[in-house]
């Protein structure tokens, strides 16, 4: 499908709106981010490289991006299940559950972090049962994963839900009448429809998790090389008045997040095209 710019549109003034959009985008996004990069240039290349590759920084990238990715995967699966249940079944209290999904959006992250820590620490409701099994959640990297999964959930549910709602049951019935078994229907009919939305949701959950600070800080334990996330390392640098070092780490996160977001967009675009082509 080619993009046609000259199409008559309901909103007049393409030039004006584009100008406004660019201005707004610059003001809110581009200027602060370029400030970040300008500040980093006060470091020499060696200093920059040293700051962003020291062992503590490397360990923190691994934890931040690794746990965010895992969290997004977990949410991809369970979030879809939640969305499915909310769309396809009617049960008492459904609208309450539906509203509860948004809570991680609204809750101050510090509150989430403190609540999760209280529950998962060795004297907490859940933690006291997990501890005898040798499973420590609070103050370990596992705790980071729990917190990131918590804050990422609504992103997946809220992107998958509308697509599921639009998905006609008739299509599935048609598949059945054409002789498809349940697995075939799921794989060939439902998944291709959901896939782009699911990817978007997971990408958003991932991006949100990478930047998360408030909730993780309480549950992580913050041990160097073990359970330190990159945002904490940035805070640590700031506490030492090392502004340039902090922005250097910020730039690394920015670049990695941007590349990942771009990749996800490309995958989406590619899968969307393949889907419409077939």
């Amino acid at each position: 499908m080619a993009l046609v710019l000259k199409q008559p549109s309901v909103l007049p003034g393409f030039g004006l709106t584009l100008g406004f959009a660019l201005f707004y985008f610059s003001l809110i996004v581009l200027i602060p981010l370029s400030g970040l990069i300008v500040k980093t240039t006060t470091l020499t290349w060696q200093q920059f490289w040293h700051t962003v590759t020291e062992p503590r920084a490397m360990a923190s990238y691994q934890l931040t991006f690794g746990a965010s990715f895992l969290g997004a995967l977990i949410n991809g699966f369970f979030g879809s299940v939640v969305a499915w249940v909310l769309v396809r079944y009617h049960f008492p209290g459904r609208s309450i559950v539906d509203a509860l999904v948004d809570l991680p959006f609204a809750l101050p992250t510090a509150v989430a972090g403190i609540a999760l820590t209280a529950i998962y620490s060795s004297n907490g409701w859940i933690g006291s049962y997990l501890e005898p099994l040798g499973l420590k959640v609070a103050f370990t990297p596992l705790g980071v994963l729990v917190a990131l999964t918590f804050i990422g959930l609504p992103f997946v549910v809220r992107t998958v839900q509308p697509v599921l709602q639009d998905l006609d049951k008739e299509v599935e019935e048609a598949a059945t009448t054409l002789g498809a078994n349940r697995w075939q229907t799921f794989r060939a009919v439902i998944v291709p429809e959901l896939w782009p939305a699911l990817l978007t949701g997971m990408a958003m959950a991932f991006a949100r998790s990478v930047g998360e600070y408030g909730s993780v800080i309480f549950i992580a334990g913050n041990m160097p090389l073990k359970s330190e996330i990159t945002p904490l390392l940035i805070m640590t640098k700031l506490e030492q008045y090392d502004y340039a070092g902090a922005t250097a780490l910020g730039v690394v996160m920015l670049v990695v997040s941007f590349v990942l977001a771009l990749m996800i967009n490309l995958i989406q675009w590619w899968s969307g095209r393949r889907h419409t082509a077939s």
């Binding site: 503590r56 060795s122 160097p224 506490e239």
Partner: protein, 340 residues
């Protein structure tokens, strides 16, 4: 049409702002005290006392705003433009930073008030679980295998730096000034630390609420506070025979008070901390008073501790920071040299 409500709000806002500021200029003056976390209760009480004193003395109503947070975070806020008339922070290093990075006060600020600009002092003590099951009495009990120690992260917390230096100074005293042995001692201590919270209150929460650790190292005033009320039956205070003399320091922020025209009241505010009433309030809020008469009155609350000074072992904060808390310094080496 859409703009109308905006214009209206704007008009109302500017009107309201103009109105309040004109009132303030007329009869009262306000100053902002930027402080660190555990002084909240202390300054609430002190501010009320000072306002009364100032009113009686000059007839002027003074409104004191307080801001609390992690000590270096607060210093950073001032550097970045928070208009603090006075700063009352956990360590001199943070006020040094304001002088050095933003030039808001002269480098010799610490010599302008008595006792190195520390109107009250404190020290570092231990909190253990009721009955002291691990038998902790002194610093060398903290490095024993199987003892779990809670202290915040010295990279992000003011008190954690005092804790760290207290342990290091203790070891230097024990081992006759042998730096290598002191380092080994502190490393062994930190091998016993399962969680590094980012601030003092966070560490207290981990120990008190989460039930983690056998001993908490913290400000004496925080520890005294946590044994009041419900904590009385669950915890015990252990005061080690030797600890560090912790001096939370205060200063007027020159450039700000000159700009706002508040120097007189800000100066008087800090000086009043040294007065008998100020010292009394400090003592009541678990800070050790400097004034001998008041100190004697509260002596029962504060067990005798041999307190060594920062200067004795570390020279000054700049040197201590460089040797221990800068990137790659002794604290980082604990984790870098022997990753678990």
């Amino acid at each position: 049409m859409i703009l109308k409500p905006f214009v209206l709000t704007l008009a109302l806002l500017t009107g309201a702002l103009g109105f309040t500021s004109s009132i303030q200029a007329a009869e009262s003056i306000s100053i902002l005290n930027v402080s660190y976390d555990p002084t909240r209760e202390l300054y609430q009480e002190f501010n009320a006392a000072f306002a009364k004193h100032w009113q009686a003395k000059t007839g002027q109503t003074v409104k004191i705003l307080q801001s609390h947070g992690g000590s270096s975070k607060q210093a950073r806020a001032v550097i970045d433009g928070l208009e603090a008339d006075v700063v009352t922070l956990a360590l001199a290093y943070d006020i040094d930073a304001i002088s050095e990075k933003a030039g808001l006060l002269p480098a010799n600020w610490q010599s302008r008030l008595p006792n190195n600009s520390a109107p009250y002092s404190s020290t570092i003590t231990f909190l253990v679980r009721k009955g002291n099951p691990k038998g902790i009495k002194d610093w060398n009990d903290l490095v024993k295998p199987g003892v779990s120690v809670i202290t915040p992260n010295p990279k992000t917390s003011g008190v954690a730096r005092w804790n760290y230096l207290a342990a290091w100074g203790y070891a230097l005293k024990q081992f006759g000034g042998d730096e290598a042995k002191a380092q080994d001692f502190v490393w062994r201590l930190f091998k016993n630390v399962p969680v590094l919270d980012s601030g003092a209150r966070g560490a207290t929460t981990t120990f008190v609420e989460r039930g983690i650790g056998d001993v908490l190292i913290n400000w004496e005033n925080e520890i005294l506070l946590s044994t009041k009320g419900s904590g009385k039956d669950k915890f015990e205070i252990v005061v080690p025979p030797i600890s560090i003399l912790a001096e939370p320091t205060v200063s007027v922020v020159d450039k700000i008070v000159d700009k706002r025209g508040t120097r007189l009241v800000a100066q008087a505010y800090l000086e009043y901390l040294y007065s008998e009433e100020g010292q009394e309030i400090a003592g009541k809020n678990n800070y050790r008073p400097q004034l001998p008469a008041v100190a004697a009155k509260y002596a029962a609350n504060f067990p005798a501790v041999e307190r060594f000074t920062l200067q004795e072992f570390f020279g000054n904060w700049q040197k201590a920071h460089k040797a221990h808390f800068a990137d790659g310094a002794s604290f980082d080496q604990i984790y870098l040299q022997s990753p678990k």
